[in-house]
Structures are given as C-alpha cells and as structure tokens.
Symmetry: C2
Subunit: 344 residues, 2 copies
C-alpha cells in the first residue's frame, strides 16, 4: 500500500464523520468551519466572526511518550487528547486537527494497526467535533505530530499569566494515576490487576477537559493543563503571573483519593509517595486553574455543568515559589518544576 | 540546557522579529495577527475579518528529507519553506507557524547547531512575516514537524480541483535542480563544483512562491506546489479536476534551461535524462497551475509583479491522464505519479 492509498483508506473521514463535518448544506446541516479537508495543498477553515484562533502542537515519540506495544486505538486517542487538553486549558472550542505521521516500514504495512490508530483518533475527533483535515505521512522512526485548532471569543482565552494574589487554586479530576500505571509498566512497582487496568486507562486514554475549559471562560483568572505534573504546570502559571502559591497537602490528598480506584492504591503506598505521584507524576491532562474566592460557587457550577469533579487545593500568594502546607501545619518549599525532556 | 531554556534561548522571537510581530501598539505598529506567541498552552491568532484559514503541515525526517550533515541554517529554512510552499499553492498570505522538534541528545546539547537551525527558520519567518508562535520539543530521533497558518479571502483559495479543459498549464521557476544535487550528493553522478553548489542551494534552500500565489488569486483556475515532481503534482490536479493534460517537451525543456546554471548541465546529461529530472525529480517547490488562454497576459503580469519566471508548458484536455508531446510530434503517455514514501 502506497502513501496516498494509506491516507485514503485510513485517515479520510468516514461517512458518519463526513456527515458531521462536510461543508455542504445537508438538510440537517450543522454549521461547520471546515471548508476544505484532506487532499489539497492546504486545508481551509472558516472560524466564526470575531473569534480568535487557538493553536497547539504536540509530538509523540515511541519509547518516550508511549510504549511500543500500546494498543494503536489508544495511541490514536491519546495523540489527539493531549492536544485537545491544550485547547481546554485556553477555554477554546475545537475546530479541526492535522496529523503528521512518520512510520517505520513494518507499521506502514500493518493495515490492522493503522486502522486501529486512525479509528481511535477519529472516535475522539468525532466526539469532540475536531475532524482531521490534513496532514503528512512519511517513512521514519514512529512519530505522531498532532496540531489542533480551536476558536475562542477575542479576549476570553484562559491564559497562564492571569493569576492574582488571593485566588484559589483548583484542579480537576484526579492526579497521579498515569504515573502509577507507568511505574507498574516499567517494573518500578506492582499493582493489583484491577487497579493497573484502571490506572493504565488513565495513562493511555486521557480525557481532555474541553467542556470544563469552555465553562470556565469569564470565571477563571488563569489556567494550564497538567501534562508535566501539577507542581510544574502550576509553576508555569506562577512564573507567567509573577506570583507564588501554597498548596494544602490534605486537600491535594483528597484530590488523589477522588478516583474510585484510588482507595486501593492508598494501602500500597505511603502518603508521601502518593502525594509525590500527584504533584510530579504528569500525563494527567487535568486542568489546574485559579479563580477569586467570590467565584467559588460559579466554579462549582462550571464543574457540575461539565460533569467534572473539582477540588480547591490552595491559594495564590505574593511570595514567589510553590509551598506545601502539611497536616502538621508546617509549610515546606516545593520545586515548581515540570518534566524536562532533556534533563540529565 | 533543559527543554524550557532551549526554547527560550533559540526559538522565541528575537528583538527584530518581536518588533514586527508583537501585538502591542508600537508607534510604527504593523497590524499583526499574533495575539499570543510562545509560552502558553496555545498560541492565539486573530485572522482578518472574512478570511478563511489555510493550514498545512510537513514532517522532515533525517536521512529521508535531509542528509545528516546538512547545514542547520539551511535545514531550518527548508522546514519552513516547504510548508510556505503549500500556502503559496493556495494563494494564502502567511500568518504564523509552529514547530514540533524531536532531538537526539547530541543535538540537544549542540548549542551552535540549534542556534543555526533556529536562525535559518527565523530568517525566512521574518522575511515572509510568518513568526513562530508555538511548538513542542522532545527527545527522539531527529524530526522537524512544521505547521503553517495563512489567510485567504473566503472563496478565493487556489485549489487542485478547478482545472478546466482548454486551460494552459504553467509552471514557475526552474525544475530538476534539486534532484540534480541529490544525485550528486548520493554519488549517482558527479557535477562541476559550481553547478553542484548552485543546485545544492536549490535543494537545501528552496524559495516558496508566496508572492506568485497571491498574485494568481482570481486568475488561476487551479494550482499545486511541485514537491513530489511535476508529473505527480500535476497528476493531483488532473485527478481532483477529472481532466487530463498534454505537456510540450520542448517548452518543458526550456523551463529546465531557464536557470542561469542549467546550460552547464545540458552538456553533462542527455535531453531525455534532463527531461526526466524535471518531470519527476521533486523537491522543487515551484508552483504548477492552470489558467484559461484569455488570462495569458494576466498570468504574465502576475509573474512580473512577483518577479517569478513563468513558462507555459502544456494544455488541459478532456481525456484523463498525462501525455508528453515530443519534438518529433509524437505523443507519449507519462505516469502522473508522485514520489511515494512507502513505495517498495
């Protein structure tokens, strides 16, 4: 199978997707921004009037971002999900995505693997109305580069530089489970099969918090997605906003315990280790954001409207840096560093 | 040097670029679509009202799209140029680009190499007003994935599917020299040093035909860029438009000879080989386009306005497929196939 047949067979929209995303006026037509999809030199999008375009790109490399034996449908899902998570962090509504794909010869020949990869990507693309509109395929070491495009009303994007002293620090969902699964897959520890399966789903099939990001427009002062670990990603907000923060270890622990399967992990690890997993684990694709205390009920309403669990875990302070308030009332400094791909 | 320092040092806009591209209102401010650049979860762009967004992405893999010893400044230039070439083929005006970059450890440590790579990219980005607004860096086998964003008035994009029977077929600049250089670098043949240097510049530093693409809006019926060889890329137009074409070998030869350094190649290769280089060589990043005969003077004016040499090399016909009219009056079929990354 050649390059162009490969694209035609696997990556062009399937009828269901085409129905939703084609720009032709069908009787039940849904307004779509896609003017021209796969097959020309460029894709053409028509954002709604007055909208700004939000753009993010992420590259996934075999052996670094995913294990060689990952289920291809999950890989397709994750490649799009980690990009959608960036749109969520900006409060942007997804419009479309492109995929550049380098494939070793054995993958290019593996029709079932490619079909599953494309199927996983398209399932999430359909669910989030973010159709694949273009891309590139080439031979090379396995590498997926997704770029996503979203729209947000001018001036309403959630940014990293808007946190203010006195803001609450909030985080969505649960943290640390992706790292829990990665450690088990790497042989750092063992997990009971049920916990491993649940944690592995969090690692391989993260849920981008698009609905929450949209609901937080006009409420949150700042936001980022948790891709490199809570401490690091909150650190980006602190540096961009020239502020500091103190997190409550107790509240952060409750966030970890919010997942139904987390109670079982509590018996396996000490609290210190669990806290470290949550603070620095990464690959969570939750949102960390700040909002003023008088917006607490609005934040809770945004969480309910988007069916997303939220926890208030700390406070923005004038003093730079990140601190942790322990159960014993002691405050300890925390390194506000993200995962670094080139760290020694 | 860590990932974030690497981005800060090399890939954030330098003062000159920042002056042009920042969204702050400077006294001599030029309207810029970049609302938010590198450093947040997403970049934010504001296309002009009524504009459609043109998007293209290309992935460059070491050993396949470039040789390991290529000058890094040229690699940075080319990674952006091949994407800008897609915007040119659509008649779109560049707005911004993103870069996802996988680096092996020895490259990540090589400050001079990175500075040259970023310098080459930024030089073209500044010249074409297409600033780098975001991206991703990771460890991995060397891979550059550029995505470009341009804007074009709604309905005015040049597309592959608009060629009509009777249209002239035009091509810009010169063809075949990139392949000439590649063959010399691969040891397929030898070239005199001066010809090699000139041809190698065409291979490593292609000129995206942005100004020509803009000038052809409203004149050309269809267009594509010549990245995989003239026969293949014209083939894309023919299939998308459900037409065929006959090229004049004499005129195509003149196109090859248009470059100042091509006369010297004529003595080294027979005409048949030169013709094959021009028709199937690839990596030219010229535009192939069609326009009605009554637009010939408008096409010539567009070429002059954009300082781009143009040649009229054939005609669109109703009969599908691609044919070549020889000097002896014989018509031969030509395979309208593009370079295929997964061909055996």
């Amino acid at each position: 199978m050649g390059e162009f047949e490969l694209i035609d067979r696997h990556f062009k929209p399937k009828p269901a997707a085409a129905r939703l995303h084609q720009a032709t006026a069908a009787p039940d037509s849904i307004a779509t921004p896609v003017v021209l999809g796969i097959g020309d030199d460029c894709a053409l999008l028509q954002p709604a009037p007055g909208m700004q375009l939000a753009i993010s790109t992420d590259m996934l490399v075999e052996g670094r971002h995913f294990l060689p034996d990952v289920a291809p449908a999950r890989l397709g899902h994750k490649a799009l999900a980690v990009n959608l998570s960036d749109l969520a962090a900006c409060g942007a509504e997804p419009l479309a995505c492109t995929l550049a794909l380098a494939l070793p010869p054995e993958r290019a020949r593996d029709d079932a693997w490619l079909a599953a990869l494309a199927g996983g990507l398209w399932a999430l693309a359909d669910a989030q109305r973010c159709p694949l509109v273009g891309g590139d395929t080439t031979a090379g070491p396995l590498n997926l580069c997704l770029t996503v495009f979203g729209q947000v009303p001018a001036g309403q994007a959630l940014r990293r530089d808007g946190a203010r002293v006195g803001d609450d620090v909030w985080v969505s969902g649960t943290l640390g489970h992706a790292r829990l699964a990665l450690g088990a897959l790497r042989g750092e520890w063992t997990l009971p099969p049920q916990l491993l399966a649940a944690a592995r789903t969090r690692l391989e099939c993260p849920t981008p918090r698009i609905a929450l990001g949209l609901a937080l427009r006009g409420i949150a002062h700042s936001a980022a997605d948790v891709s490199d670990g809570l401490a690091g990603d909150l650190g980006h907000i602190l540096r961009a906003s020239a502020v500091g923060a103190c997190l409550d270890a107790q509240e952060t622990m409750k966030t970890i315990a919010a997942g139904a399967f987390s109670a079982s992990a509590e018996g396996l690890f000490d609290r210190q280790t669990l806290l470290r997993l949550a603070l620095t684990g990464g690959d969570d694709y939750e949102l960390v954001f700040t909002a003023p205390p008088d917006a607490r009920s609005a934040v809770q309403a945004a969480g309910q409207a988007s069916a997303t669990p939220l926890a208030r875990i700390g406070r923005i302070e004038a003093e730079p840096g990140l601190r942790l308030l322990g159960a014993d009332g002691r405050i300890e400094p925390l390194a506000a560093r993200a995962f670094d791909h080139f760290a020694p």
